[in-house]
Amino acid sequence: MFGSPTLRQLAPLLALVLGALALQQLLPQYFLYVGNLLMMYVILVIGLDLLIGWSGQFAFAHIAFFGIGIYATTILGTRYDLPFLIAMPVAAMLAGAVGFLIAFPATRLRAVYLALATFAFAECAQWVARTWDSVTKGADGLQIPPTSILGYAVGNDQHAFPVVAIILALVLAATLYLQRSRFARSMSAIRESEHVASASGIDVKRVKILSFTLSAIYAGVAGGVYTLFNSFVNPDILGVAQLVLVLTMLVVGGSGSIAGCVLGAVLIGILPEVLRAAPRSMLVWQEFFYGLILVLAIMFMPRGFFGAWQAWRDRARHAADKRDAQASQDTRLRAKASTEASS
């Protein structure tokens, strides 16, 4: 379980990047936009999963860190002329620093209190984005100018596509490494029982603070990615609707597994694009549908699609084992019966 990720795990990441490079020329602009959006959501959802699925901390401030990532990357680029390759990591670190700071009060809270406090923090962040006119231009929002990476101009979805794919591949590789660390084991230990973790020598508070920080960094990176294929941001991005959307992705896909996060981000992220074909009068129902899907998923698939699939696979395997055992017993009985009959 420890050590480096296997080649079999890293190969899909390479395929992702190569695939993106190839498809960049083939897919229409709109598909590339959806692709960028989905890849960004994967980063965002995995970051949330570190906190909720791995560490068991039901904190809902994630969207605030995503917003910090978007605004900070944009402002560092426009006001301070920093290139994307510096602005984005700095923005992610800034998001991580804020995550680190709110972790201190947050680790004193549990369950519903933690959920409420972090939710309130996200609301505050949206308020700041709306009110801090001199920096965020308030409700009007900010223009995000096209950027360039080492001379490669990233001006539209087509250009952004392989860049987003490379960032996603790096994030996934980092997550695979993280998954094989003792730190990840400590995270699942505090999720299961803080008493046992603490008695075993795990500094529960430290693990929580690091989880908050890491999770915020992931959200900051997702924010940086947003600036690559969007030309505009306003405080709406920090709204409850976004939070519900990301939570739905996590719950529907299956928290606690990378594959589940990818599945959830793709299934739920693609939904509004599918619904776009629906009549305009249906669009107002979109958020209602998210809510409905979230509730149904919690009721019928508490471990998400991925968890449900795993359970189904285990059951199928178990049934096959049983069938095999039954079959070999039948053969033995038949053999016995035939020897008895012949004697």
Binding site: R185, A189, A199, I202
Partner: protein, 254 residues
């Protein structure tokens, strides 16, 4: 021989209730020292003071000569003190092996995956080998990859002990390891405790199952309503009239 663990006049109050009242107890190295008493006598509270889950209002707890009370809860394992829990606490959705590996947190290096891969793989291999040894000792080898939450009650009890053992503690605090077990399983715990003392481990045992206490303990301390009412070898304690009245009288003949 000086005491490995020395509890010196601790008092714990919960609101107006005095749960433990000026309690002292010395545990000699290499012994099994049982702490018994009726329900609510304060045994688990004493345990919680040693493992830093509770801080006494007065008194001191010294381990190998140094006070434990200044340490945070998680540092106790590193000092060499491990505990189990009365109401089994396990990492339900982790496997038996993973539970034991978590138990080693105080002594396995490599927090983040920043060490070179070869070094990390070696550390993990050694950790897994050590975990397999603990599983063999506790008879859980066959359940290595089972989720802790899927084990039956008896094996869950054993896993709690295995998890604590994997920290290689000098002092093991066992909170009712035999409660609710069948006779055959109690015999297994009895045998395990014997093997542990043979390896030089010191054990404090809180237990209601008298058959186990009388069989393994070299010394017994009796608590009643937060105060120590008797202490001595099993035979002495068994014969003590105050103990019989407070505890054994009602339960041993039940």
């Amino acid at each position: 021989m000086s005491a490995l663990l020395s509890i010196d006049g601790i008092t714990v109050r919960f609101g107006g209730l005095v749960a433990v009242d000026n309690f002292s107890m010395d545990v000699e190295e290499g012994r099994i020292h049982a702490l018994i008493g009726p329900n609510g006598a304060g045994k688990s509270t004493v345990f919680n003071c040693i493992s830093r889950f509770t801080t006494p209002a007065a008194g001191d707890v010294r381990f190998a000569g140094e006070s434990l009370l200044a340490d945070p809860q998680y540092a106790i394992a590193k000092r060499g003190v491990a505990r189990t829990f009365q109401n089994i606490e396990l990492l339900q959705r982790l496997t038996v092996l993973e539970n034991v590996l978590v138990g080693m947190s105080s002594r396995v290096p490599g927090y983040f995956p920043l060490l070179p891969g070869a070094r990390r793989r070696r550390i993990e291999r050694e950790a897994v080998d050590a975990a397999d040894e603990v599983l063999a000792l506790t008879g859980l080898t066959g359940y290595r990859d089972t989720l802790a939450g899927d084990l039956d009650f008896g094996h869950q009890k054993l896993l709690d002990v295995a998890r604590a053992l994997s920290a290689k503690p000098r002092l093991l605090l066992l909170d009712e390891p035999a409660a609710g077990l069948r006779n055959r399983e109690i015999a297994q715990v009895d045998k395990l405790l014997g093997e542990l003392t043979a390896r030089g481990m010191t054990i404090v045992l809180v237990e209601h199952v008298m058959q186990l206490v009388m069989s393994v303990a070299q010394k017994i301390t009796v608590l009643s309503f937060g105060r120590k009412i008797a202490e001595g070898a099993p035979a002495e304690v068994r014969a003590n009239p105050e103990v019989i009245e407070a505890y054994l009288g009602k339960r041993a003949h039940a």
